[in-house]
């Protein structure tokens, strides 16, 4: 070897070693996304929150892992909307890709399927888009749920809200899918306790294409409150057909769907004053991080965030970021920190009791003039309830 070449190699080698010592490796964060399959339409609301968070953190110099700042790198796979596949992916992320941290997949079934894998490897993860009484059956310690939308709390809160708006006769229609049915189970007795008469209580199939029979019956029943325990597709169907048929109840509630930006875009004034499930609004001034998040999101993606899923996904990133800044990447320290600390999020302070968020109240939103306002409970409300 020529002497000059040898020297050059030596210099290059020294530079490499020096470089490696300075530039810390990125923190690798793994998750699965429902890129294809049944939940594919829901995935972007979550993915955009993750991407925005990563870009913000990286632009600010990286993730604070206790002693240093390291860039975030995502390792993610498509779980085909299949919870079993998601559980396998998290096993791969932990054992094969050896990621440093995990973010959550989309939806209740997927969270519950992944919970077993987290338990097996003792890997902590902050969940987001899962809401079911079943989450309380999950052993606490490796998964936490920031949502406050849990059916046994929604039922009584919704009945109290309906009563406060003057509802005396309620018509309920419910999708047969799990989240709707769980809500139905707790709602009916709660309405009874509030002295509200249930005049219609019907369930419908998940792929319903025509609600006119149900809606005509509702119109004829004289109900002054309509509670549709709906999923996104049927919320869109309800809104369109309720207008055609002329359902005029002053209180109209749709379970899941109106928080998606496309809903307000699609219906405009027709959807005004519809009430829905949600615990976050950018209009709550007490939550200092809420409005900046909203503005940055609209700027980045040219649309409004999903008030439920995007907010929850972003909250889970904030909680993880603050926990890692305190505990570093050590799993035991991280677990103890997430379980005990109070975190400052776009939804205000969050603290966990077992697997549940112990601070954020179960709340409801109302679409008022294209803006989502919190109307219940009074201590977080950003606007007063308006009848339709």
């Amino acid at each position: 070897m020529h002497r000059r070449t040898f020297l050059a190699l030596g210099v290059a080698g020294a530079a490499l070693v020096a470089g490696a010592a300075h530039a810390a490796d990125p923190v690798r964060i793994g998750f699965s996304i429902a890129q294809t399959g049944l939940f594919a339409q829901a995935a972007p609301s979550q993915m955009t929150a993750y991407e925005m968070w990563r870009d913000e953190v990286n632009a600010a110099g990286g993730l604070d892992v206790g002693s240093e700042q390291r860039a975030i790198e995502f390792v993610w796979y498509d779980d085909e909307s299949n919870p079993t596949k998601a559980a396998q992916i998290y096993e791969k992320l932990i054992t094969d890709d050896k990621v440093d941290l995990l973010l959550a997949p989309w939806g209740t079934p997927t969270h519950l399927a992944v919970a077993g894998t987290l338990e097996k490897y003792g890997f902590p993860m902050v969940g987001n888009t899962a809401a079911s009484v079943a989450i309380r059956q999950v052993a606490p310690g490796n998964i936490w749920f920031p949502t406050s939308a849990i059916p046994d709390k929604i039922g009584p809160a919704l009945a109290a809200l309906a009563r406060s708006t003057g509802v005396t006769k309620a018509a309920i229609i419910a999708n047969v899918l799990p989240f709707s049915q769980e809500n139905l189970e707790y709602l009916v007795p709660a309405l009874g306790a509030e002295g509200i008469e249930v005049v219609i209580n019907e369930s419908y199939p998940p792929d319903i294409a025509d609600m006119t029979t149900l809606l005509t019956a509702i119109k004829d029943s004289g109900a002054d409150g309509v509670i549709a325990l709906s999923y996104p597709a049927d919320s869109f169907l309800y809104m369109g057909q309720a207008k055609e048929i002329g359902v005029a109840a002053p209180f109209q509630f749709l379970l899941v769907g109106p928080t998606i930006a496309a809903f307000a875009d699609a219906f405009g004034p027709v959807a005004d004053n519809v009430v829905t499930l949600g615990h976050w609004s950018p209009h709550q001034a007490a939550w200092g991080r809420a409005k900046p998040f909203y503005d940055a999101y609209v700027l980045s993606f040219g649309m409004k965030p999903d008030y439920l899923d995007t907010a929850l996904a972003y909250m889970s990133c904030e909680i993880l970021q603050q926990a890692v800044a305190k505990a570093g990447l050590d799993k035991d320290a991280l677990r103890a920190t997430i379980a005990s600390e109070t975190f400052d999020t776009i939804n205000g302070p969050v603290k966990f009791d077992g697997v549940e968020n112990a601070i954020t109240p179960t709340a409801f939103l109302q679409l008022q003039g294209g803006e989502m306002h919190l109307i219940w409970p009074a201590d977080v409300a950003t606007a007063a309830y308006k009848p339709r």
Partner: protein, 298 residues
């Protein structure tokens, strides 16, 4: 089976049985997938491969088996619940078999697909009425146990399928495929044969469904009765070549490998590759891998 083939089969079985001790946890999940698909596809071929009655409803049997295991969880021991799931699936196939197997070709395909959807929505409504719309199972067996049980079912499926093919029943079913009217005319009891084979092809998928419910430790009807499971079974059988006993095994293993290689790197590419593979085989090699290998070259 020639002595050499016997040795090869024994070696393959020994290797498959040793997998939990040879690979890591992620490798084991892939092996579990492979064993599951082999068991399902080979069972399907008991009727689909011999008589060419293409059932697009096998997920109903898989789902019923899962439902039995889930509803009897912590009531019945698993050694009872899993076989019971298989029996319930078999009994259901026997019940629907009489009317359903009276139609052929595309009518049979669509009818089985429809029945599977019917069962899915029936279970969904029962679950909704019970107020138990999603169920979690705690304390399920580990993956090693589940893999060995599923492997056992795959081997059992292969043995049953091979025995059927060699029996009078198998010969009768092949006669049905070649010319159902002639077969009936010369005295093959086609009704009885078809129904029996249909029920037989449902039992093992029922048990596999039970094991897979334990694997995911979570039960939700839309997931467990997902028709994509039926489509995948048929795709694997077509790619491998359902007319040959080895075809369903090869097809299942090939697609598990292709899926592993592709999904992680190109999730959209996986679905495209699957479509191309299916079209390619149907157009250029309708006999599947085994059919293409067996055909004398011009």
């Amino acid at each position: 089976m020639t002595p050499r083939a016997g040795i090869a089969a024994g070696a393959a079985l020994a290797l498959a049985g040793a997998v939990p001790w040879l690979v890591g946890p992620y490798g084991l999940t892939i092996a579990l997938n492979a064993a599951m698909w082999v068991a399902l596809t080979v069972s399907w071929s008991i009727l689909g491969g011999t008589a060419a009655y293409i059932s697009l409803g096998h997920v109903a049997f898989y789902g019923l088996g899962a439902y039995v295991v889930v509803t009897s969880w912590q009531v019945l021991p698993l050694v009872v619940a899993v076989p019971l799931g298989g029996l319930v699936a078999g009994a259901f196939a026997l019940t629907i078999g009489w009317p359903v197997l009276r139609v052929r070709g595309p009518y049979f395909v669509i009818l089985t697909l429809g029945i599977a959807e019917l069962v899915k929505y029936a279970v969904l409504n029962v679950e909704a009425a019970l107020g138990a719309s999603s169920r979690l199972l705690f304390g399920v067996p580990d993956n090693r146990t589940l893999y060995l049980a599923t492997l056992g079912l795959a081997v059992l499926a292969i043995i049953v399928a091979a025995l059927v093919r060699r029996s009078r029943l198998g010969a009768g079913l092949v006669a049905v495929r070649e010319d159902e009217v002639t077969a009936e005319t010369i005295g093959v009891p086609i009704g009885r044969y078809k129904v029996f084979a249909f029920a037989l092809s449902a039992v093992i998928p029922g048990m596999v469904g039970g094991l897979m419910a334990l694997r995911s430790a979570y039960f939700e009807p839309l997931q467990v009765f997902n028709p994509v499971i039926s489509f995948t079974i048929v795709t694997m059988a077509v790619v491998g070549g359902a007319a040959d006993a080895r075809g369903p095994i090869l097809g299942a293993l090939l697609l598990v490998v292709v899926s592993e290689l592709l999904w992680a790197n190109a999730p959209q590419g996986y679905m495209i590759a699957l479509g191309v593979l299916l079209i390619g085989f149907v157009v250029f090699a309708p006999g599947g891998i085994t059919g293409a290998l067996a055909r004398p070259r011009p």
